[in-house]
């Protein structure tokens, strides 16, 4: 575990210097940790796990946008844990006490081929629909169609630099929408 944490911290530092591959590895490695922390936190508060996916996605988004705050002299894992706990508490506050209707009996009543709007779609995916203009096009190309920034730039007729800036702003816009959605 200790070696792993050191590896993560190294990846985080490399990411801060613009090393995209290290950053990807780091995020992939953090997903199980984020999920475990969020799950424990939800369970401890007597919540069902229907909001788990959203909490994990929001936590990833927050780690991404707040990574400049992490100070290499502080251990990374407690920092990530604390951030996820904060995000989980936020999510619980936002949703309040919600009655969750089990979906299976209802699903049987629906004709099999009817598309089920928003079911299984996360908050973040829904929020992409609220982002405007080029930001939305870039997000859709990368997040939903699986393109890289360069491919998205080509297909949208933008320069790669412009596409990068647009992507960054779009991600910030999503975070802002998440923030507003809870007030």
């Amino acid at each position: 575990m200790e070696d792993e944490e050191q590896q993560w911290a190294l990846w985080m530092q490399a990411a801060a210097e613009g090393d995209q591959r290290s950053y990807r590895r780091l995020l992939d490695a953090l997903v199980p940790l984020i999920t475990a922390v969020a799950r424990t936190c939800l369970a401890r508060n007597g919540r069902d796990l229907s909001e788990l996916d959203d909490v994990v996605q929001e936590s990833l988004l927050a780690i991404h946008l707040k990574r400049h705050l992490w100070d290499a002299s502080r251990p990374l894992v407690p920092w990530v844990r604390a951030l996820v706990v904060n995000k989980t508490i936020d999510s619980m506050r936002r949703r309040g006490r919600r009655i969750v209707v089990p979906i299976e009996p209802l699903a049987n009543m629906l004709p099999a081929d009817t598309p089920q709007p928003d079911m299984g779609r996360s908050d973040i995916e829904r929020l992409i629909g609220h982002v405007r203009g080029r930001q939305r096009l870039v997000l859709e190309a990368i997040a939903l169609k699986g393109q890289t920034v360069r491919e998205a730039a080509d297909s949208l007729g933008m320069s790669e630099g412009a596409a990068r800036v647009t992507l960054h702003r779009a991600i910030k816009a999503i975070a802002e929408l998440v923030r507003k959605a809870r007030t």
């Binding site: 990807r24 996605q57 990574r67 705050l69 604390a82 951030l83 992507l167």
Partner: protein, 210 residues
């Protein structure tokens, strides 16, 4: 959207993270403080006896109080800006401790009949108005910078930031103010700084949610 798509998208966003928060906060506060100093110089100027005044222990204690509070509140702000804030900043007790010692020394060395006059000073009302006014620009700069933070408690970060800016405004006003009695500082400067702290907490509660 699958988690993997989100991870891939975030990894595609290679915009470099900006300057460390501490350095950015320093730049913002220094700019705000420089403007506040300029405003003070243009409108009222510094106290005419500033060089000699710096030889008196009361004046030194006054500046040391504001300086210590600034340093401790700066550290407390950077800590509170993190999701894993450690909290419990004991360093914040140093400034009030120093002030209490100065008040003690004053009470021991001056006759009880002069305490009332020392406590009310010449211009208590100016202290209550001018300190917050001189704190305003640093406060605006600090709010703008600290919006990038990820505080465990936005209110707590706002409070630390408010105390920091209040102490900074107090430090600037001390270049002008001739009420030097530790009793005066303990009452009026503390109240003025507390006001800015409160404003910071209220602002932080709204502005620092992330």
């Amino acid at each position: 959207m699958k988690l993997d798509d989100l991870v891939r998208t975030l990894a595609e966003d290679t915009q470099q993270p900006r300057l460390p928060l501490g350095r950015q906060l320093t730049v913002g506060l220094a700019t705000g403080a420089a403007l506040s100093c300029a405003i003070l110089l243009v409108t009222a100027g510094v106290r005419p006896d500033l060089p000699e005044a710096l030889l008196s222990w009361q004046v030194l204690a006054k500046f040391a109080f504001a300086g210590l509070l600034m340093a401790a509140a700066f550290a407390a702000s950077l800590d509170a800006a993190q999701p894993d804030a450690r909290g419990g900043s004991r360093a914040l007790a140093a400034a009030p401790g120093l002030l209490a010692a100065a008040v003690g020394a004053e009470l021991l060395t001056t006759p009880a009949g002069t305490w009332g006059a020392a406590a009310s000073g010449r211009h208590p009302e100016l202290c209550l108005v001018v300190v917050p006014a001189l704190s305003a620009l640093p406060l605006i700069a600090a709010v703008a910078t600290l919006r990038r933070a990820a505080p465990a408690s936005p209110t707590r970060l706002g409070l630390a930031m408010g105390l920091l800016c209040g102490a900074l405004g107090a430090f600037v006003y001390m270049l002008r103010c001739t009420d030097d009695a530790p009793l005066f500082v303990a009452i009026w400067y503390s109240a003025a700084i507390a006001l800015v702290g409160l404003a910071g907490a209220l602002a932080g509660r709204r502005a620092f949610r992330w």
